[in-house]
């Protein structure tokens, strides 16, 4: 199976590093970005299937970034991973197209499950599109 490409976006560098390391050890290809702007810039050269996006970041926050990603890269499945979850924010995120909205801390096993489910949806959407445009 091809390695699932995941982008992690979080302003907390150590969190970024440890999560990326764990995912790589579990066979994922991981791109790291410390801000939403950097992430959107990197997507042009490094397309990914799943994005793990921090909810609160300086500059463009998670929900703003989500809107932008979904606008230009609708197939990317975005998982919002935040330290501050409210039901309102979760509903808003899901309405904007997030795949899931989860609260830190999460175990790596759970995160991997979420990523694999998101990847499945991504593949479904891609196949539908390819079918449609055949």
């Amino acid at each position: 199976m091809a390695r699932i490409k995941v982008m992690i976006v979080d302003d907390e560098e150590l969190l970024l590093f440890t999560t990326a390391k764990l995912l790589e050890k579990n066979g994922f290809k991981v791109i790291q970005a410390t801000s939403a702007i950097e992430a959107i810039g990197l997507l042009k050269r490094h397309p990914v299937e799943v994005m793990i996006l921090d909810g609160k970041m300086p500059g463009m926050d998670g929900l703003e970034a989500l809107k932008t990603v979904k606008q230009f890269y609708p197939f990317i499945q975005v998982i919002i991973l935040t330290g501050h979850a409210t039901s309102e924010a979760a509903i808003e995120g899901l309405n904007l197209g997030a795949f899931d909205y989860i609260m830190k801390p999460i175990s790596i096993e759970e995160l991997i499950k979420k990523i694999e489910n998101a990847y499945y949806i991504h593949q479904q959407m891609k196949e539908k599109k390819e079918f449609f445009f055949r």
């Binding site: 050890k25 330290g83 830190k104």
Partner: protein, 562 residues
């Protein structure tokens, strides 16, 4: 300090409530009394004036009539007829029929000789030329004498009229002094009112009822009483210092002074009665003012104390609520900041575990005690991370400003939904659970899920407290829902558990305060409940006795009141 302040205030209020009304009340009574007294005095003097005027008129009429009787005789009979004793006797009889005041009748010639007489005395042939009355009547034409003794040596007075015909002659009649006395004396003015006549020399012409015989000098108006026009009314002191309201007027051609007088006390009897009534009213009124002031001020002070206590309580709750609100604000940022490091620690824990597994697989690590300890430590790290995560979740819930959904809750359906959960849990631990919803309580306005959270929290805390004290039996929890009589519905949870100490009872609603073992409670439950009930417009109270039990009381405004 507070009590002293209230005592001072109480005294001040009483003083103010007593002084001002008493001054106004007494002032009003005094002014009323003065006006009444003046009016009464004026009225009494007017009455006296009227009485003496009427009395004077009556006496003068009497004297005029007697004079008229004699003048008639002169006009009707000749000198010769009148000097005939038989005819004179008949005339006297007729006169006496008309007026019993005539005692006798006498005819006098120009020289003062008593030429004819009819009466009880033997006066015929006596010479009166030198008598004062004769000289006066010859000079004036008619004369009413003062009371004198004369030849008969008995006090009497006469009315004499001169007949100017060919020869001058005088007809004289003696007036019954006793009858005249009765006429003058007969006056109805109070209990002590009396009337009498004195002459220009101050000698009594009639007897004085209070003491004074005919021809005695009137010690009050003795000497030469001064003539005055009209009627004079004045206060006069007696010999024994008694005071009289006196009225005087002159009659009989300025020779007699009519005196009407009344004892001052008697004259102003109604004023004295009014004085007693006013004094009584003053005393009673002042007493009533004092008593009412005392009770009113006591009630005011008590109410002030209650209101101040309520205000202190509200202020305390407000400060607490404010503190909680600030804490809520901080909570969300705090939780967010903690969760990131927690995620890092969790990741690092996983990495260490993964590296350890790799080392195992490569055979670089043996199963030793040290490795076992490492595993334990990693497990502990995981446990503590989860514990921290639960705490931050609880903090976030606490800080969440979720808007309450206000609905009308039917308590008949709502309460059993909660109690059925608690009944099962209580039964498992051998705790007797009893609840009662008072009749008449139908609905309440509030957020059903939040209210449920509060009640469940209280009941679960009660279960924990009972378990801590009792073993399998003896535990009891009661849950009452009833009106508190002040427009609130009271949700009361009482247990016979471990209780709360005096030092802790003030902290139960403080965030993070808990008496439960480490890891068993976040200490946020009651503070969250407190905030929920505050938002619903109610309040929470707690009372407890260590080792006996605790009662939590949640008060919410009655739906109907709202």
């Amino acid at each position: 300090m507070k009590n002293n302040g209230y005592k001072r205030l109480h005294k001040y209020i009483i003083l103010s409530m007593v002084l001002a009304p008493v001054m106004i009340y007494v002032g009003a009574l005094a002014i009323g009394y003065i006006y009444f007294a003046n009016s009464l005095e004026s009225s009494t003097e007017s009455i006296m004036e009227r009485v003496i005027k009427d009395h004077r008129q009556m006496i003068e009429s009497f004297l005029e009539e007697r004079k008229g009787d004699l003048t008639f005789l002169q006009d009707t009979y000749t000198y010769d007829e009148l000097t005939n004793n038989q005819i004179l006797a008949q005339i006297l009889k007729q006169l006496q029929k008309k007026s019993p005041a005539f005692i006798d009748l006498g005819i006098f010639d120009n020289n003062g000789l008593h030429v004819a007489y009819q009466g009880p005395y033997d006066l015929t042939g006596r010479q009166y030329k030198k008598e004062g009355w004769f000289r006066e009547v010859i000079e004036q034409g008619y004369y009413i004498s003062d009371v004198f003794l004369g030849f008969r040596k008995v006090p009497h007075f006469v009315i004499a009229v001169v007949m100017n015909s060919e020869k001058r002659w005088v007809i004289r009649a003696t007036i019954d002094t006793y009858l005249f006395n009765t006429l003058v004396e007969h006056i109805s003015i109070g209990k002590t009112g009396e009337a009498y006549i004195v002459n220009a020399k101050g000698m009594l012409q009639t007897q004085r009822r209070s003491g004074g015989a005919l021809m005695e000098v009137d010690e009050m108006n003795g000497g030469m009483p001064k003539y005055h026009e009209g009627i004079k009314v004045f206060m006069q002191s007696g010999i024994n210092k008694e005071e009289f309201l006196t009225a005087t007027t002159w009659l009989n051609n300025r020779s007699w002074m009519l005196v009407v007088r009344q004892d001052k006390q008697d004259a102003f009897q109604s004023l004295h009665s009014a004085s007693y009534i006013i004094i009584l009213l003053s005393i009673v009124g002042i007493l009533i003012i004092i008593v009412v002031s005392f009770f009113l001020s006591t009630s005011i002070i008590r109410r002030m104390g209650e209101v101040n206590a309520e205000k202190d309580q509200l202020q305390y709750q407000l400060i607490r609520a404010g503190g909680l609100a600030e804490l809520g604000e901080m909570a969300t940022g705090f939780a967010h900041e903690i969760n990131n490091p927690l995620q890092i620690i969790k990741n690092e824990q996983t990495l260490i575990r993964m590296n350890l597994s790799e080392l195992y697989e490569e055979g670089q690590v043996n199963n030793s005690e040290v490795v076992a300890e490492l595993e334990d430590s990693l497990n502990q790290i995981g446990i503590q991370i989860d514990r921290c995560a639960r705490i931050t979740q609880a903090i976030l819930k606490f800080g969440r400003k979720s808007e309450a959904e206000i609905k009308t809750i039917s308590l008949k359906e709502f309460i059993p939904q909660i109690t059925v959960m608690i009944e099962k849990k209580a039964a498992v631990h051998g705790i007797e659970f009893y609840y009662q919803l008072s009749r008449g309580i139908q609905t309440i306005k509030g957020d059903p899920s939040q209210l449920q959270q509060v009640i469940l929290n209280l009941l679960n805390n009660a279960i924990d407290a009972v378990i801590e004290k009792h073993s399998a039996t003896g535990g009891k929890i009661e849950f009452f829902i009833r009106p508190d009589g002040k427009g609130n519905i009271s949700f009361v949870v009482t247990d016979n558990g471990i209780g709360i100490t005096q030092e802790n009872i003030d902290k139960v609603f403080t965030p993070f305060f808990t008496t439960k073992p480490v890891g068993k409670g976040t200490g946020l439950g009651l503070s969250v409940c407190f905030g929920i009930i505050q938002k619903m417009g109610g309040r929470m109270e707690v009372t407890s006795n260590p080792n006996e039990g605790t009662t939590f009381n949640v008060l919410l405004p009655n739906d109907k009141v709202n």
